[in-house]
Amino acid sequence: MMKLEKYLNSRGEEMNKLVCIDDLKNLIKDGMTIMIGGFLGFGTPEKLIDLLIQMNIKDLIIIGNDTSFIDKGIGRLIVNNQVKKVIVSHIGTNPETGKLMNEGKLEVELSPQGTLIERIRAGGFGLGGVLTPTGVGTLVEEGKEKINISDKEYILELPLKADLALIRGSIVDKFGNTFYKGITKNFNPIIAMAANTVIVEAQDLVEVGEIEPEVVMTPGVLVDYIIEGGE
């Protein structure tokens, strides 16, 4: 059904979203809210992290699963003091996060992992919030509305959206269709739905048509820019 051929637009030009990493500099600004894929750094677009570090963008609000390790993924932004606030489920593997938090230099919002991913999904899927039993009776419910449904209590958790989503795809075609290998899927396909601008770092860049439409995990229509990442 699928043919291996270049994707041509109606002018017969090859249409792709592929850019040089330096072309992205205009897009990225101090104070932005950025969602970053990955779980302990696995599935994180490290070249895009390099770019943020190179540009020394400041006061970021970062949303992701965790703050990784000091030398990996989101962890590197923390260590480089570029982050004003993180919304994550776990900071235990990066001692610098706790240190900066205790010094009052970094705001940390902890959200249970299943709640966090649903909040991002709600943001991207146009839902008003998430009704979850997770966190009831704990510090997590503080300051939040609780709703009783069929005699069970649920916390109303609010959606999350971002200016930018930074994604790492294992196989990406030039239209932006993305396939994730193994556990690198994690937050990546969900954050692709919840941000105004979506940038994919392609481990393997392929031609349009090389990824069967059934196994596309992030449709290219959601992707604005692609950079070549490599291993």
Binding site: Y7, N177, V208
Partner: protein, 221 residues
Amino acid sequence: MIIDEKKGKEIIAKRVAKELSDGQLVNLGIGLPTKVANYIPKGINVTFQSENGMVGMGKACESGKEDANITNAGGQYVNILPQGAFFDSAMSFGLIRGGHVDATVLGALQVDEEGNLANWNIPGKFIPGMGGAMDLVVGAKKVIIAMLHTAKGKPKILKKCNLPFTAKKVVDLIVTELGVIEVTDKGLVLKEINKNITIDEIKAVTEAELIISENLKYMEG
């Protein structure tokens, strides 16, 4: 008026197609809206979504090449383009409700001055159900109604819909064979008119008040 139904639908589909721009994700409803795909201007790349679980929907399938795994939301056999993708209904409506669909083109039973829409329920007569229409008109960034101006001679563009709403205040643009009407805070503004009719003639078959645009143009078609 003097326009037959088939010709009217062609005028509508052609005109709606001009509303779409390069790079957009668009959902076309069943029936007349489906025809819009045939008139996308050269140089404009539009990706079509089908809410049964596909983006990158192509044209209707050639006879003899039907694949029961590739149909549109009306159950008709279609093709998928090389850049397309399939997904489940939760993702499909996530794209819709989440504002990722740039425009949706739908038919209507009634539209009114406030941009209210009725297209799913004729109480006591025929209640097909809303299907994906309620989500589409709430979620898509631009809601375009593509319909014949009247039904059996009766106006469909009303002061106030009297059939159950599909959604409140969602319609952005109404395209009929007689004209192009924008829904604004001040009411319905006639922006373009079919060159074969007069303003009085279009007013005569429109129950809603029509504000005539200062820049009223002839509609192509």
